[in-house]
Structure formats: structure tokens, C-alpha cells
């Protein structure tokens, strides 16, 4: 009875890992269609430029006029914090100005993978 249990559990884990595997190419599509209204990789627009965002402190893109909340935040943009940011920015940094939410965890993971790739991390 115990033998089949382990392979099944491993299969379940493998399936979960596949579902969670981030796809930077899909992240690029999502970035362009969903973030591109306000953001570019290399120019400050409605929102700050994103190249290099992964790994840097929130509110530190050069020459962008951040909210005081983001500017004074100690958040560093990496996997967990970017996921929290895209889930609900106001929960992570109250007083921010983005407020744009990405509902699906896989979409968030893919966008983060793309931003990470474009940040050379």
C-alpha cells in the first residue's frame, strides 16, 4: 500500500512545480499588454522605468517622482515583495499610487520572471 503513495505524491509535486514554473516569455507579453499603459523598461512615464527593478530598493529609479510612501519604503524588489506588490500594492506600501492588481499567481510569477530577466538577475 505504501509503494504507490510515494510516486503519486511525487507526481503531484512535479505537477505543482510545473504550474509554478515562471515563463519569462509569457511575462513579456503580459508586461507589454498590462503594464505597458504606464511603464517602459527604459523610460520613466506614468510609472518608473523597470529595467533593473529586480533587486533594487523600491522608489529608487533615477529621476522618477515617487510618492513619499514608496520613496520612504524599505522594500527591496524581489520575488516575494514583487508578488505582494502586484497582488495588492496598497497592502504592501500604504499610500503608494499604482493600485494596479494582477489577480492570477501564475501571471504575477511570469511578469516577475520577465522583470528579473530584464534586470540581469
Amino acid at each position: 500500500m505504501r509503494l504507490p503513495v510515494l510516486p503519486l505524491a511525487m507526481l503531484a509535486l512535479a505537477a505543482a512545480a510545473d504550474a509554478a514554473a515562471a515563463d519569462a516569455a509569457h511575462g513579456q507579453e503580459l508586461y507589454e499588454s498590462r503594464c505597458g499603459g504606464c511603464h517602459s523598461l527604459d523610460a520613466n512615464r506614468v510609472g518608473p522605468a523597470h529595467r533593473g527593478v529586480y533587486g533594487r530598493k523600491a522608489g529608487s529609479a533615477p529621476n522618477f517622482n515617487y510618492s513619499s510612501a514608496v520613496k520612504s519604503s524599505t522594500v527591496v524588489c524581489e520575488e516575494k515583495t514583487l508578488d505582494a506588490w502586484l497582488t495588492n500594492p496598497q497592502s504592501l506600501i500604504p499610500g503608494q499610487r499604482m493600485n494596479f492588481r494582477v489577480a492570477l499567481p501564475q501571471d504575477r510569477a511570469d511578469i516577475i520572471a520577465y522583470l528579473r530577466q530584464q534586470s540581469g538577475k
Binding site: C38, S40, A43, R45, R97, N99
Partner: protein, 195 residues
């Protein structure tokens, strides 16, 4: 053409003596006016809503500049030029409605960047053909529609969330027309916006 757009607008403002909201801006705001007073009692939610609206205003200001750059470029031919000018007037009405709402909620509307700043940020110098201009407009309109959809869950005031959906619908309409002008295929699947 560009001067005509600006002069027409200035003429309207000069004629009235004051900055008057367009009929559509008034209609857009109609559901929100009674909420403004109630919201003042809930400062945090109202402040957050003002933040969202100001970000939307920055987006609309960028769109107005982008269409201005397109009209000024000399790359757009009739009837595309006329459609671009019409879409710019829609964005101006969005802007006016957003400014009025921000003020009603006690906020200060963000200032628009100059057309030159927007041109640099959007790399407008790379636009060489009418198709280039249409592609840029198509990309910005889709991004704008998705931005309005993506902020809907963050509004404290459900009436403002509805306004956001209406703004998104305008941007989606613009995207559809531009997509037809470019002879691009329409989305094969449903729910292509916000995804």
C-alpha cells in the same frame, strides 16, 4: 492640423470664459457626486481613490500628448488623422472628468508633462510611417484599457470603479478601431483584455 486642434479648444474655453466640463464629463461624474461628501468622512479610502485617479490622469495626459505628436508628425493621412483627432478629444474629456473628480474629492490634479518629455519617453523620433504611429497608439490604448481594468478592485468607491470600467471601454473601442485600421486580426479568444 495640430494648431487647429489646440485653437479649437482654446476658442471653446475663451468663449465660455471659464473651464467648462463637457457634457460627457458631467455625465461620467453624475454617479459620483453624492458619494464625494460621504467619502470625505472616510479619508483613507478617499485619499487612495484620489491616488488612483491621479495616476489615471497622468495616463490620459500622456495619451493626449501622444495623439498630438501623431497629428503633428505629418505621417497621418485622412481619414486616419481625423480619427486620431477624435480619439484625442475623447482623452481630453477623460482628463477633464478626472480632474473634476479629483477636485471634488479634495485632491490636487497632477500636472501634465510637456509634449517634448512624452515624445522622448515614447521614443517618438523612431516613428517614420503612419503604421508606426498607429502601432504606438494601438499599444498605448490596450495598455490604458488594461490599466483601467486592473485598478478596479482597488477603488473604495464602487461608483468610481464603474467609471474606471467605462473609461476602459472607451480605450478598448479605440484599440479596436486602430486594430482594424492596421488590418490586424481580431482576438481569436474572448476576454482578451485584462489578461
Amino acid at each position: 492640423m495640430t494648431q487647429m486642434i489646440d485653437l479649437r479648444r482654446r476658442g471653446l474655453l475663451r468663449g465660455s470664459g471659464i473651464t467648462v466640463l463637457s457634457a460627457s464629463a458631467v455625465a461620467l461624474l453624475a454617479g459620483c457626486e453624492r458619494k464625494a461628501v460621504a467619502q470625505s468622512a472616510n479619508g483613507g479610502a478617499a485619499a487612495n481613490d484620489v491616488g488612483i485617479l491621479n495616476t489615471a490622469l497622468a495616463l490620459e495626459n500622456e495619451a493626449i500628448s501622444a495623439y498630438q505628436l501623431g497629428a503633428q508628425s505629418g505621417l497621418l493621412q485622412k481619414p486616419v488623422l481625423e480619427v486620431a483627432v477624435l480619439f484625442q478629444t475623447h482623452h481630453k474629456e477623460h482628463r477633464d472628468a478626472l480632474i473634476a473628480t479629483i477636485r471634488k474629492l479634495g485632491g490636487t490634479p497632477v500636472a501634465a508633462k510637456s509634449d517634448a518629455e512624452v515624445a522622448q519617453a515614447l521614443n517618438a523620433s523612431a516613428l517614420k510611417t503612419q503604421t508606426d504611429v498607429l502601432r504606438l497608439a494601438q499599444r498605448l490604448e490596450k495598455g490604458a484599457a488594461n490599466a483601467y481594468i486592473g485598478v478596479i478592485p482597488s477603488f473604495g468607491d464602487r461608483n468610481l470603479a464603474q467609471v474606471s470600467a467605462r473609461l476602459a471601454a472607451d480605450e478598448a473601442m479605440h484599440w479596436t478601431v486602430l486594430t482594424q485600421a492596421l488590418k490586424d486580426p481580431l482576438p481569436a479568444k474572448a476576454l482578451s483584455f485584462g489578461a
